[in-house]
């Protein structure tokens, strides 16, 4: 999932739709994010390539909205409601996720196991 500058980034993504939960005054999603282009990528425990400055899911609250929607820890978020998340700062990512006027966020996330699954399934079917 690293990128080569100038080349398009390709990834196998899963679409996850999370309904925000109202807790008092706030709408929460139930997970934590880490990473961003202003952060230190070497400290990211979930990324394969330690120069990957994308946004990763670092923690999921059990039984929270994200957990129920199928988000897994260690997922890299590629898009939020159509907004790109591969080249944003940490704060921009937070803002895109916590807009007060939106009740639902549609994420495109990718993880290693998705790639494996696609490769596996590709390998199973012989090419016609």
């Amino acid at each position: 999932m690293s990128f080569v500058p100038g080349q398009p980034v390709t990834a196998v993504v899963e679409r996850v739709e999370i309904q925000k939960l109202r807790q008092g005054e706030n709408l929460i999603l139930g997970f934590s994010i880490g990473g961003g282009i202003d952060q230190d990528p070497g400290q990211n425990p979930f990324s394969e390539d330690k120069s990957d400055k994308g946004i990763y899911v670092t923690r999921i609250s059990p039984k929270g909205p994200a957990d129920l929607a199928g988000l897994k820890i260690g997922d890299k978020i590629m898009q939020v409601n159509g907004w790109d998340m591969t080249m944003v700062t940490h704060d921009q990512a937070r803002k895109k996720l916590t807009k007060k006027k939106e009740d639902v966020v549609r994420l495109l996330v990718t993880r290693k196991s998705l790639e494996e699954a696609v490769k596996h399934s590709k390998g199973c079917y012989p090419k016609p």
């Binding site: 929460i28 934590s32 880490g34 400290q43 923690r59 940490h90």
Partner: protein, 538 residues
């Protein structure tokens, strides 16, 4: 400050005749407490013109006063220049009262010590000389060892003499109420030593004894040095000194002293550290303080309860409050408790008035100060120092050459009014007479000081030393203490030094014991990284 006598005179004022009022005021001034500053030359406050009412309570505000010593120098009391006015009389008598008679007691201690030390110094010499004179025949000859002893004796006596002079022959600056324990001990020791040596006959032995006597005296002197001087130097206690009238406080570190020596030490520091005591600054304006309960109505309900309705009136506001108590004991205590309850519930606006009064006073002082500074700066531009070359090279413009006194008088007039108004607003006019201001101005001109340096003396309240006049009679202080004054300082001790109208309360606390640890930091160990991984929960 004369304000006090004004207030007390105020209450006597009624339809009495003028002369008896003068006598009464003079009596009041005798009775009124003396202060540290004995310069009373201020002529503008104590005006008692016949027929004019005594100054009212707000007289210290200078706005509507008759500023007269800026323009003229006479006192408006109806007396001529050649007669002593009322104020001069009181001033003279007050000076006499203030200074205590020259006490002979002051010199007894040093005289006794002086006699004893003379006796001690002369004794070894007497040991050497007297046997030669009296018993020449009965003595055995004493050879070279004696001469060695003579030489060492001579040197030791010289050292003893010089160090005695350096350590002990100082004029005492204070008389203390009790004897010094350590000094008495040392003097007794010296006396015993010296007396016990007058008992031998063998000449060589006598010389050796003389030498050993001098040794003993030297060691006693060492002991005295340690006990009387060195022990006091290493700080062990912290003294907090608070002035009882206005709360000015300072902290000092002292060593192991007795209470009386600590008192002298504190007083030394008091005269140069504490701002001068100004009785005029103590009073809150009367408009705030006069919270009189003008009316009480006490109602008794069924004989068991007391109900008090209190009306208080102030200049600004009228309040009423009430209190209710139960008469369990007897009537009067029940009523007084009800009164206290009423007083507690009274809605108190005096803090408001105090705040605005303070702000107003600050503003006024700042305004006066600005005027004063401008006036002084302008006045100083009128003169300049005459250089030697100018005097010689300009014969066609003969300027009037003045000495400092005349120069001071020449430039004093334009600033006098501003100065007087400022002093009156800051209530300092008792400390600075016109004469003293002129002298100070002359001093500043002579030493090429700027206007700001000239004004330094008036803009801030200086230490008491600045206002002292040197009369050798000394200041009378009273040491008030619950412990005997020769006991040593220890934690929690409190004593106070009382003067006639204020006192200094001194509290003793020991200095904390310090545990100093050590930590070594390698200069190469200072390294830093950027902290850039944050986790945000959404």
């Amino acid at each position: 400050m004369d304000n006090e006598s004004q207030y007390s005179g105020y209450s006597y004022k009624s339809s009495h005749s003028r002369s008896s009022r003068k006598h009464r005021d003079r009596r009041d001034r005798h009775r009124s407490k003396s202060r540290d500053s004995s310069s009373r030359g201020d002529k503008s406050v104590t005006i008692q013109t016949p027929g004019e009412p005594l100054l009212d309570a707000e007289s210290t505000r200078g706005d509507d006063r008759d500023d007269n010593w800026g323009e003229t120098t006479t006192v408006v009391t109806g007396t001529s220049e050649h007669s002593i006015s009322n104020e001069d009389l009181t001033r003279v008598t007050k000076d006499l009262e203030e200074s205590t008679p020259l006490e002979c007691k002051r010199f007894v201690g040093p005289a006794l010590g002086g006699c004893l030390s003379f006796f001690a110094l002369v004794t070894p010499l007497a040991f050497l000389i007297l046997p030669q004179v009296l018993w020449r025949d009965a003595l055995e000859p004493c050879g070279t060892p004696c001469e060695g002893l003579y030489v060492s004796l001579a040197f030791k006596l010289l050292v003893l003499l010089i160090s005695s002079w350096a350590l002990f022959l100082r004029p005492p600056r204070a008389t203390l109420p009790r004897f010094f324990v350590f000094r008495c001990l040392l003097m007794v020791l010296v006396f015993l030593f010296v007396a016990s040596y007058w008992l031998e006959r063998d000449y060589r032995g006598i010389v050796e004894y003389a030498a050993s006597l001098v040794d003993a005296l030297l060691f006693i002197q060492y002991l005295a040095l340690v006990l009387l001087e060195v022990r006091h130097l290493q700080p062990a206690f912290c003294l907090k000194v608070v002035r009882s009238t206005d709360g000015a406080s300072k902290f000092y570190n002292v060593g192991h002293l007795s209470i009386q020596r600590a008192a002298v030490w504190v007083l030394d520091r008091y005269y140069s550290d504490f701002p001068v005591y100004n009785p005029a600054l103590l009073n809150l304006p009367k408009s705030i303080l006069s919270k009189k309960m003008t009316g009480f109505k006490v109602y008794s309900l069924d004989g068991k309860y007391s109900f008090v309705l209190a009306l208080t009136s102030n200049v600004q506001s009228n309040n009423s409050s009430f209190g209710l108590t139960e008469n369990t004991t007897n009537n009067s205590t029940g009523q007084s408790r009800a009164m206290i309850a009423a007083a507690a519930r009274r809605r108190d606006n005096s803090h408001n008035e105090y705040y605005y009064e303070e702000a107003e006073m600050d503003r006024r002082i700042r305004k006066r100060k600005a005027r004063l500074v401008v006036a002084v700066e302008e006045a100083f531009t009128h003169i300049k120092r005459l250089q030697e070359e100018e005097a010689a090279s300009s014969p066609k413009h003969p300027r009037e050459v003045m000495d400092p006194r005349e120069a001071a008088q020449a430039i004093f007039a334009p600033m006098a009014r501003a100065m007087q108004k400022y002093l009156r607003t800051t209530r300092q006019q008792a400390f600075h007479s016109m004469e003293s201001i002129l002298t100070h101005l002359q001093f500043c001109i002579t030493h090429n000081m700027t206007p700001k340096a000239f004004l330094e003396r008036y803009l801030t309240a200086g230490p008491t030393m600045q206002y002292q006049q040197q009369n050798g009679r000394g200041r009378q202080w009273t040491l008030v203490s619950e412990e005997p004054v020769t006991s040593a300082l220890r934690q929690g001790l409190v004593f106070s030094l009382r003067r006639l109208d204020f006192s200094l309360v001194v509290t003793v606390t020991p200095l904390p014991f310090l545990r100093l640890g050590e930590e070594f930091i390698d200069p190469k160990s200072h390294k830093f990284v950027m902290r850039l991984q944050s986790e945000t929960s959404v």
